[in-house]
Amino acid sequence: MTYTRTEMMVVAGARALAGRRVCFVGIGLPNISVALAQRTVAPDIELIYESGVCGARPARLPLSIGDPCLVTGAVAAMSMVELFQYYLQGGLVDVGFLGAAQLDRHGNVNTTVIGDDYAHPKFRLPGSGGACDIAQNAGEVFVLMRQSRRSFVDRVDFVTSSGRGLSRVVTDLGEFAARDELTLVALHPGVTLDEVRAATGWEVRVSADLVTTPAPTDEELRLLREELDPEGVYLT
């Protein structure tokens, strides 16, 4: 079956959750990856949302992390102060799964401003939300984002969330692991190293044992297209 690079990215993100028990789900694309993971590699994964939900089992694809479908049928719904203090800061979260607007070679994430002057930004981004808190308190952090020279930069304009806890970045082109700096460890099928280099704002370090990501299976694609996101909310 043919597939888009966004689908490959979402599938690779889902697979990265294999074996993880508790995932803190960030805004945007991570939502569809965790939904796929829950139906494939991680059926017992507990999903935690900064909106105050633990153990969500949504009957439809949530359009945001505050969607009512995340509450109905969940294990627990609570105040945010409880969620941030006891669940996240308390150390229950294995992996925080985030999106990002801009990221650098050290894994620092910028979701605050584009431009050098905070007070007079070229472009105002949404800000931290829970990202800065998740980055410091989750066992490890995965980032899921499209890669380009604009988003993959040598040095972010503003460090919203420190790269310290980041362990893995999944993009539409491949996958990076956090070593001394972000290191390319997998290329998605059909993507060349040159393409990755062209879409990265620094000289990419490539792992000695670079692998090719297995293509999405028919079942993964079927789940994405027919069950999880038939209206193409996340996938288009």
Binding site: G52, S64, G66, F84, T112, V159
Partner: protein, 295 residues
């Protein structure tokens, strides 16, 4: 609503209309716009479309927040126009920081300690994010100061006439924002007998003794949602992207839907009765538990 907002919200106030995606009192926000309040400091974790409308209408001089966007859609353009230009003040935190500010306010503490902000640039642009040292092991963690809104407005599923208020679904930080506030307005889908509240005391979000006004305003959270009552009107959130991009369209929208309506009943009448048909979920009852009649 008119009286509650007129009496309790004053020009220059610090105002929090809280609710994380859920239970956002658009009806109260619209009334603030109708009454042409000025120079407000607006606080919210996620300013959402309601603050885009308020700020677009010119009621505010400052915004305190932690995530600035139209959830699931994109930007809040009216806010961004002001933030990217000069003269409008912003103060930003992470969600945990904002939650902590309300919590410190509710608990009347001089600061709220939290593990966040290490190696982040946020403390460099916000002097209200500082460090504090543990008197036990000497460890340093970050801290934020209390936030005491002059007025907090929360929407809930039900309250009695004394203001004893119950909510279910996402609870956000409404409890903390209300306990932290000097004055509290509760807006509800249903005004119920006191006995309904007293039948399930663990469900209570706020006691009446903390509430200054109760307003009965069904569907007052539209286009956000009220768990069990109606769904989020995602079409409206999508449509807002287009309206908000263009100041003229935004002004026309405010003229038609806010200034052009007398109150939220007028706003609903404009939407039409059938509007909520496909926003109404099938029931999913919680079930009842037994408290026992001890006498």
């Amino acid at each position: 609503m008119r009286e509650a907002v007129a009496d309790l919200v004053r020009d220059g106030d610090t105002l929090a209309i809280e609710g994380f995606t859920h239970l956002i009192s658009f009806a109260a926000g619209h009334e603030v716009i109708r009454q042409r309040k000025r120079d407000l400091t607006l606080c919210r974790l996620t300013p959402d479309v309601i603050y885009d409308q308020l700020i677009g209408a010119g009621v505010a001089r400052k915004l305190v927040f932690s995530w600035l966007g139209n959830p699931g859609v994109g930007s809040l353009h009216a806010v961004r126009r002001l933030v990217e230009g000069p003269g409008f003040e912003v103060e930003e935190y992470s969600h945990f920081g904002m939650v902590g500010r309300y919590a410190a306010g509710a608990a009347r503490l001089p600061f709220f300690p939290l593990r966040s902000y290490v190696d982040s640039d946020l403390p460099t642009v916000n002097d209200n994010i500082r460090t504090v040292t543990s008197p036990f092991d000497g460890e340093e963690v970050y801290a934020v100061p209390p936030l005491h809104p002059d007025v907090t407005i929360v929407h809930a599923q039900r309250a009695d006439k004394h203001g004893n208020t119950q909510a279910w679904g996402l609870l956000g930080c409404q409890k903390e924002a209300a306990f932290a506030a000097r004055r509290v307005i509760v807006v509800v889908e249903e005004l119920v007998e006191e006995s309904v509240i007293r039948a399930d005391p663990n469900r209570t979000l706020l006691p009446g003794l903390k509430v200054d006004a109760v307003v009965h305003c069904p569907r007052g959270a539209h286009p956000s949602y009220a768990q069990g009552h109606y769904d989020r009107d995602n079409r409206f959130y999508l449509a807002w992207e287009h309206i908000s991009r263009d100041p003229a369209l935004l002004e026309a929208w405010l003229d038609e839907w806010v200034h052009g309506t007398r109150d939220h009943a007028g706003y609903l009448a404009k939407l039409g009765d059938s509007y909520f048909d496909d926003l109404t979920p099938a029931p999913a009852p919680s079930g009842s538990v037994d408290y026992g009649d001890y006498r």
